[in-house]
């Protein structure tokens, strides 16, 4: 119960937070930060259980018909994520209170970011695939609202939409995949799935299922070619970028892959697809990061690169690579979160995030600078930071990759060198290079803005020095959950001099060189050329073209279908009727309508039919309205005559009355109408005649086919027999109308009354705007 409460209470707090903000104003951030901090402590208490390799699972039936439970599942993997989410969450909320101080929508901001936090916790703690998906989509929606937080600006709105569409489309693919997994296993419950992984791998639809799930994971975790929404998402306020788009939400895809590894992984397809996507993303992200000027965009691309590395490691699927991934996840959350928050503080204090404008801020902002440098050192992998331990692990895992280890290691070195350079550019350059004249008024920020980055960066140092205190148990628990055969993880700062250490040294030297020569190779015209060239073939452009194309297609289709002309609407409907009924009539098996079936027409019947046909032709072809109406009247009279012949005098009398009245009414109206004009062209008239003939022919055929069999009414004998004795009426037709089927008559009377009211209103009430 307490787990459910822990996961869902965030939503309640989110609803309450705008009101809380009205009461507490400036103190709200501090107050709200207590909530994730408390959750952090609460989840820490699960550490012992998880290290022992145990998991906690609670489920409440939600929609039993569909097999959906409100289920929660905590093992070491969930725990690692939950601690990152709540720990960084507390710092970010604290930070945001100051960063958005005085913003008119700060109350709503708290509500949305708390919703996000609760949803993200739900994703990593859900014990049922569908429950997980529900939270997954909620993170997309809250991300949308946060990216577009600065909603006055068109770029923010467009970026929010783009992120939502990309992750939303991937999410739907994933939903299909999850449904298929559930159907293959007969359950959506996570513990059951994990214990019977083979079922999906043997499923005939394994490959489609895998692709669908990967689509979901890759879009969410910004893998190439779906990565482009992430740099766009930098339109969000900086605390949001730090939290959602670096530390937590973008890792949901990584979480999903690790989580479903036992269900879907271990196949060639998995290995190749995941590894390739990861490797490509790792390199492209790192290279593009070097060519950005906006601090946040640099960080965003380096996040893309990191996500690529994580996915690559999962694809390698060795115990070493999973361990490396878990450590990297934690390290990255710490240093990247810190660097984003630093970028926000710099923006706040100096009014710019442009690295070509920033420099020498260390004197004005010493505390922020300290945090920045510590985080950058961890990112670059200098000892004694946790990042150093991590880099060693990464290389070790890549060197021992089961396939193509040379290629993967080489790409890894490439990406890492670039990221060392990036670390310098974002963490060192703004603070230590030449001071820019425009930065006169730069100042140290309020504590709420430096506590977060300092704590996060400090943790990177602390954990590097003493990995046994927290990192080892945490990673042990996480790896245990995925690879039960590993009992404990021993991370050490110093491994001695070995090939891995050699690679680390080379990386750092090359990376530092890259950073120091930044002014040499970073040329505005090169950058412009590069950006222009890539933008032509970039997925971003494809997305934009797709959007334009979609709108064009939509408009073209709508112009074609909903064209505004009643005559075409009618034509379409009649043509559809002819097509559908006609096609069905000619399907094999129907009783053939031949001349042998009762077409025994008597002479006078034939004459009446002939008159009706002639009158119809006249009504259609005449150029006089009066003649047309008279001809229509003739048609009606002809039909009435047929009623008489088939012994329905009541009907005939009604018909005569109606026809007469209609003609009279028409004649009264006719002189108020404009002159008769032929509006249709000859081809149009021929087309219409053809359609009309086909429709008539089709109906005749249908009726002939229908009456081919013997007809016997089940109702008529009863009506005839009981009209007098039960209903006390001699005229059967009347009795049917007012008694047997009097309910119909009630409806018809209503129709007439409403029609009368409607005509009255039409005549008397004319509103014009």
């Amino acid at each position: 119960m307490s787990i459910v409460l822990a996961c869902l209470s965030g939503f309640a707090l989110a609803v309450a937070s705008p009101w809380l903000y009205r009461l507490a104003r400036g103190a709200t951030g501090w107050l709200l930060a207590l909530f994730p901090a408390g959750l952090f402590l609460y989840f820490s208490s699960f550490l012992g259980t998880c290290i022992a390799g145990n998991a906690v699972y609670t489920a409440y039936p939600w929609i039993p018909t569909l097999g959906i439970d409100l289920a929660f599942f905590i093992d070491g993997l969930s725990l690692l994520f939950a601690l990152i989410i709540t720990g960084i969450g507390a710092l970010v909320i604290l930070y945001a209170g100051e960063y958005l101080h005085g913003h008119p929508h700060l109350g709503r901001f708290y509500a949305i970011i708390l919703t996000f936090m609760a949803s993200m916790l739900g994703v990593v703690m859900a014990g049922n695939l569908i429950t997980m998906f529900i939270f997954w989509e909620l993170t997309s929606i809250s991300s949308f609202l946060l990216i577009g937080f600065d909603h006055q600006r068109e770029q923010s709105r467009a970026a929010a939409l783009q992120a939502l569409l990309v992750t939303g489309a991937g999410g739907l693919a994933m939903l299909a995949g999850l449904l298929l997994i559930g159907q293959a296993n007969g359950t959506f419950a996570l513990p059951h799935l994990l214990s019977q992984g083979g079922a999906v791998r043997q499923h005939p639809l394994y490959l489609p299922i895998l692709l669908l799930i990967l689509l979901g994971a890759f879009t969410k975790s910004a893998q190439v070619p779906f990565h482009f929404w992430l740099p766009g998402a930098m339109e969000a306020p900086t605390p949001v970028s730090a939290y959602l788009h670096s530390a937590t939400m973008v890792k949901a895809g990584v979480y999903l892959l690790v989580r479903l590894g036992p269900v879907l992984g271990g196949t060639e397809a998995w290995h190749y697809l995941v590894t390739t996507a990861g490797a490509v993303t790792m390199v492209i992200g790192a290279v593009l990061a070097l060519w950005q000027t906006d601090l946040k965009r640099i960080l965003a691309y380096s996040t893309v690169s990191t996500l690529g590395t994580l996915v690559l490691l999962i694809g390698l699927d060795t115990s070493l690579s999973i361990k490396a991934a878990m450590v990297f996840l934690l390290v990255h959350a710490l240093y990247k979160g810190a660097l984003f928050l630093v970028a926000g503080a710099v923006d706040h204090a100096a009014g710019s995030r442009d690295i070509t404008q920033l420099g020498g801020l260390a004197r004005a902002m010493p505390i922020t600078a300290t945090a920045a440098v510590l985080a950058a050192l961890s990112m670059a992998g200098f000892p004694p930071m946790l990042g150093f331990i991590n880099k060693e692990l990464l290389y070790e895992a890549k060197l021992q990759a089961p396939r193509a280890s040379e290629l993967i290691t080489t790409l890894g070195i490439l990406a890492n060198v670039a990221l060392v350079g990036v670390a310098g550019i974002v963490g060192v350059k703004p603070f230590f290079s030449k001071r820019h004249t425009t930065l006169q008024h730069a100042h140290e920020v309020a504590p709420a803005l430096w506590i977060g980055p300092l704590v996060l960066a400090g943790w990177g140092l602390f954990n590097g020095l003493w990995p046994d205190v927290l990192v080892n148990p945490l990673i042990t628990a996480a790896v245990n959950a995925v690879q039960p055969e590993i009992t404990s993880v021993e991370l050490k700062l110093w491994h001695g001099i070995n090939p891995v250490f050699g690679l680390s040294v080379i990386t750092v030297i090359a990376g530092v060189g890259l950073f120091l020569s930044h002014d040499l190779w970073f040329r505005e015209n090169w950058r412009a050329w590069l950006l222009q060239t890539t933008s032509r073939i970039s997925p971003q452009r494809l997305y934009e073209l797709g959007l334009v194309g979609l709108n064009k297609l939509a408009r073209a289709q709508t112009r074609l279908l909903q064209n505004g002309y009643l005559r075409y609407y009618l034509l379409t409907i009649v043509a559809t009727t002819i097509g559908l009924v006609g096609y069905t009539l000619f399907m094999p098996g129907l009783p053939t309508v031949t001349t042998e079936s009762k077409l025994d027409i008597l002479v006078h019947e034939g004459v009446i039919a002939g008159i009706i046909i002639l009158a119809t032709i006249m009504a259609v072809t005449t150029r006089s309205r009066l003649a047309a109406i008279a001809a229509m009247g003739t048609v009606g009279y002809g039909v009435a005559l047929l009623y008489i012949l088939f012994s329905a005098p009541d009907l005939a009398m009604t018909q005569f009355a109606i026809e007469t009245l209609t003609v009279i009414l028409f004649v009264l109206v006719i002189y108020r109408l404009p002159r008769f004009a032929l509006l249709s062209s000859t081809p149009a008239r021929i087309r219409d005649a053809l359609v009309a003939l086909l429709a008539g022919g089709m109906m005749s055929l249908l009726v002939l086919a229908a009456v081919a069999g013997p007809f016997q009414s089940h109702l008529a004998p009863y009506f005839a027999a009981h009209s007098l004795d039960l209903a006390k009426g001699r005229n059967v037709v009347n009795v049917i109308l007012v008694d047997f089927r009097g309910f119909d008559t009630l409806g018809e009377i209503t129709v007439l009354s409403v029609a009368a009211l409607g005509i009255f209103a039409l005549l008397k009430l004319r509103k014009e705007h």
């Binding site: 929609i63 939903l175 089940h714 008694d739 309910f743």
Partner: protein
């Protein structure tokens, strides 16, 4: 025994009788608008109450039937209520209450003086009659009632745009009526009976079921026009944006749904001889309806027109459930029906408040509502995201169940289409959000500041129901599953109508 049944089954006729009496009362009070308004509220509440009672009764006692005038079954007219009918009646009642409340605040004095309330209730009478009729010709009569009532509501006020829309509306719908009537005639010619349960029995005995399949196409088209499916939906986007919003809202919630209801009724009870042909045809139509509808919506920049095209698109989902013809799929469709009726009507009501605030429906001219009307923004998001299938709103569970059934049955194409269309739905809902709510208002034009409480209350009410259904989807799914069971096994319906014989 007989006596007990009649007393119990009286609940079936109340949803027809209550609106009729309300309308008659309102007509008698022609010159007293206030009396009409009070009567209308009471009548709507009573209709909702009767609907709920009916649903409860059917839930506990099974399918109910009532022989009007006590004429035994195939000879007189039978009213019958299974769970699907009862659910539809409850929805009609819920919309009656909310739309009536909304009308109190938004309907102008002239329209009120020219019979708005009585005709609204006649519309409800027709709708409920269609849901409850167990006789194919009687069903036709109710279609006529709701057609004329909707036509009068559409034209009431006589604005130029209204009349233009109404002409298309009535012409195309009369076409549907003509085809429907022709179908009934041919069916009677084949089977010699009009009672639907009896028809089911007679048609099952047919020597040549192929001819029945051909006739079923007439019904597919006639009801397809009513339900606004591809390629027969033209009347809907041509007319729904022209009358006052309250009218659009109730139309969007109920009219097309009557067509869908009728399709479900006849294609589960009467035309089940050649499922592979008829229901595959329905599935194809469903796919095209989803796609063309949502593309139509993408092309729009007028709030209500955009919503109108979405009605079409969502009808496709409902038909998908029928086309899959499996209890799980039909259960999903029943759930979907509840969701879409609520979401759609709520969105129309929201569009009315937006118009009240900024005097236009044009998305290009709207803006800034996120800042100026945050409550309304939330009230928009709930139905809009539900329509787009975002969890944990009911639209998500509806889509989930439907796609799940589709995948289970190996119908991958339609499942993929359903998912793809839902992202486009999200896209066009976000378009409204970005344009009307987030974007700054282009011209600081007319801007009413206060929102009348009576406009907001019904929206809040509906939004709460939507949220409630999302959070407590379990019980409703159980109900939908039972309803689908009844639909997939016509024996129970036939038994209830014709008795044990």
């Amino acid at each position: 025994m007989m006596q007990v049944n009649t007393v119990m089954n009286i609940w079936i006729v109340l949803p027809i009788l209550i609106p009729l009496l309300t309308a008659v009362g309102a007509v008698l009070a022609w010159n007293w608008r206030r009396v009409q308004r009070v009567l209308s509220v009471i009548g709507s509440a009573a209709l909702l109450g009767a609907g709920l009672k009916l649903l409860l009764t059917v839930w506990t006692d099974g399918i109910l039937a009532l022989q009007i005038g006590s004429w035994p079954a195939p000879f007189g007219i039978t009213l019958a209520a299974d769970l699907f009918s009862a659910i539809m009646v409850v929805l009609a009642g819920l919309l009656a209450v909310t739309v009536t409340l909304y009308s109190l605040a938004s309907m102008d004095m002239e329209r009120e003086s020219f019979g708005y309330y009585p005709i609204l209730h006649i519309l409800l009478m027709g709708v409920c009659g269609a849901f409850l009729s167990g006789d194919i010709f009687n069903l036709y009569v109710w279609f006529e009632v709701l057609l004329i009532a909707s036509f009068v509501l559409l034209t009431l006020g006589g604005e130029r745009a209204q009349l233009e829309g109404a002409i298309k509306y009535v012409t195309l719908n009369l076409m549907a009526s003509a085809l429907f009537l022709a179908g009934v005639g041919v069916l009677y010619g084949i089977a010699g009976t009009l009672n639907m349960a009896d028809l089911a029995v007679q048609l099952a005995k047919m020597e040549h079921p192929e001819i029945v399949t051909a006739v079923s196409m007439l019904f597919l088209i006639a009801f397809g026009i009513k339900a606004a499916v591809f390629p027969l939906f033209f009347w809907l986007p041509a007319s729904y944006h022209t009358p006052p919003v309250a009218v659009s809202a109730i139309f969007s919630g109920l009219l097309t749904k009557v067509g869908v209801y009728a399709l479900f009724r006849v294609f589960t009870l009467l035309f089940v001889h050649n499922i592979r042909y008829t229901h595959t045809m329905i599935l194809i139509i469903a796919g095209f309806t989803m796609v063309t509808g949502v593309l139509g919506a993408v092309a729009q920049t007028e709030f209500r027109r955009l919503l109108s095209f979405h009605i079409v698109s969502q009808i496709g989902y409902l038909l998908m459930g029928l086309g899959l013809y499996h209890p799980a799929a039909m259960a999903a469709a029943v759930f979907f029906m509840v969701h879409v009726v609520l979401a759609k009507s709520t969105l129309f009501l929201v569009s009315g408040v937006v118009h009240w605030l900024q005097g236009t429906y044009d998305l290009k001219k709207l803006g800034g509502l996120y800042a100026s009307a945050p409550g309304l923004a939330l009230l928009f998001l709930i139905p809009a995201l539900s329509l787009a299938g975002i969890p944990p709103l009911p639209g998500f569970f509806a889509k989930l169940a439907l796609v799940g059934a589709g995948l289970q049955l190996g119908q991958y194409v339609i499942s993929a289409v359903a998912l793809a269309v839902s992202i486009l739905t999200l896209f066009s809902m976000i378009k409204i959000w970005n344009e009307a709510f987030w974007k700054p208002q282009p011209l600081a034009a007319t801007c009413a500041s206060a929102q009348p409480v009576l406009l907001i209350i019904p929206i809040v009410l509906l939004a709460l129901v939507i949220l409630g259904i999302g959070f407590f989807a379990g019980p409703l799914f159980t109900l939908a599953a039972r309803a689908a069971e009844q639909l997939s096994d016509p024996a129970g319906y036939i038994q209830a109508v014709l008795g044990g014989a």
